[in-house]
Symmetry: D2
Subunit: 140 residues, 4 copies
């Protein structure tokens, strides 16, 4: 696997009165890509939930280069950049053809659902993510 | 109490590329008004949740007359029109000054959180709602 | 063509604290299906916009039967039920496998972008829509 | 003026299936505060729009400390940290009572509505913003 990529179409729900995609909504696009990446890895959300933990976004930073517009066919990418004991760092972009529109970094943390305290990532999942990361680095 | 009313300001998040409020978002305005109405009645959401039931929207119909725009100062109203064994029917509007922009009916059902089955409204709450309804009818 | 159908995946962005899809968001699903239906018909949104008119939702009614949940793979359908001089009536559903979750009717109106006044549908588009409607009636 | 602050109530529309505010929605809270801050300064959005320019978010970074929950009464703050030729940098927080939930930095750029190119801030507005910034620094 090199970079993971998800095609996304811009609908009217995503736009604002400026005639462009409302900047907040790129974060939804980013998360859809992370969700599909985890699904492709076989991460079982029901099992996670039964174990009493969940993933939350702990940090993010975004850089907006160019706006996307209604009906655009976009590509949303991610690379798992680093896998810590309880966190995963993703680098993500939104592109239209070869044009970079938005890029950002998002840190996901694994936490206890009740207390919100950090939880160590499950060993099997962590190994999968590290493998995906290394493949990213080799081929990305 | 006559009609219950909540002031709402239109922000860029509420608009779409047509330059007007995205029609879906009026439903959020309607719900904010219902939430504040229930809060004003003293409905204790934590108690509801602890009892294992919740409110869901079971039906609604909307009629769009005129669009709202960015920065508009709106007024969102509701009248509790009918209180059934497990349902409440609200008539709602969105207005800008005296101009009617949107009107609709929303039916809320009380259901069991786990099974989704209808649950009879708590007697005390039902009495409060019926009283509010009658006041609406007298003074509305 | 019988009924038009669009597959939609439920993401976390679509859910609420009740653990189910926030009921407002089914309207976004409905609209995505209408947009793809119009795209499949070859409706040119840029041409519409250049002509100074736009489509708006003028009425809708919804009936919520069962909730959708995170990660559900849904099917969103539409049938163009009636084509008037300046309006189109759609019947729409959201289903998970064979289970009907939400059904509703949505009326779209063609309006002048500046005045908001109704505009007669373009003749070519109207003919296409009527044809689609009749196919729906025969095969739906 | 010291720090600018806007009270915000958490509604069901803001939450997700994790039972907390969907992390994307804090950006809407941040923007509501910036909008009210600009309104309080007397910035005339209609004049801006007539001049053919608009404000867009060019960069942002967020740090999530604690989740907000349904019905929380929050306080959203901003300080105008730096005013450049065509940009404004804001530091923002979301708090529940004295507890810091989210903090972030948002850079706003003034751009030409058609070309997206940076435009120098209007002199009068820039002077107002610099004054607000200095008051922040003195009293904040």
């Amino acid at each position: 696997m090199s970079e993971f990529s998800l095609p996304i179409r811009v609908y009217i729900e995503d736009t604002d009165a400026g005639g462009i995609v409302y900047y907040v909504n790129y974060l939804k696009y980013f998360e859809r890509a992370r969700t599909e990446f985890m699904r492709a890895l076989g991460v079982d959300r029901a099992a996670i939930s039964d174990n009493g933990w969940m993933f939350v976004v702990s940090k993010m930073s975004l850089d907006y280069r160019q706006p996307a517009r209604l009906d655009d066919a976009l590509s949303v990418t991610l690379v798992a950049q680093h896998v810590g004991a309880a966190t995963i760092d993703f680098d993500q972009t939104v592109r239209r053809d070869q044009t970079l529109l938005v890029e950002g970094s998002v840190q996901i943390a694994c936490v206890d659902r009740d207390t919100g305290r950090p939880k160590r990532l499950d060993g099997g999942l962590r190994a999968q993510l590290i493998q995906a990361t290394q493949q990213n680095k080799v081929t990305g």
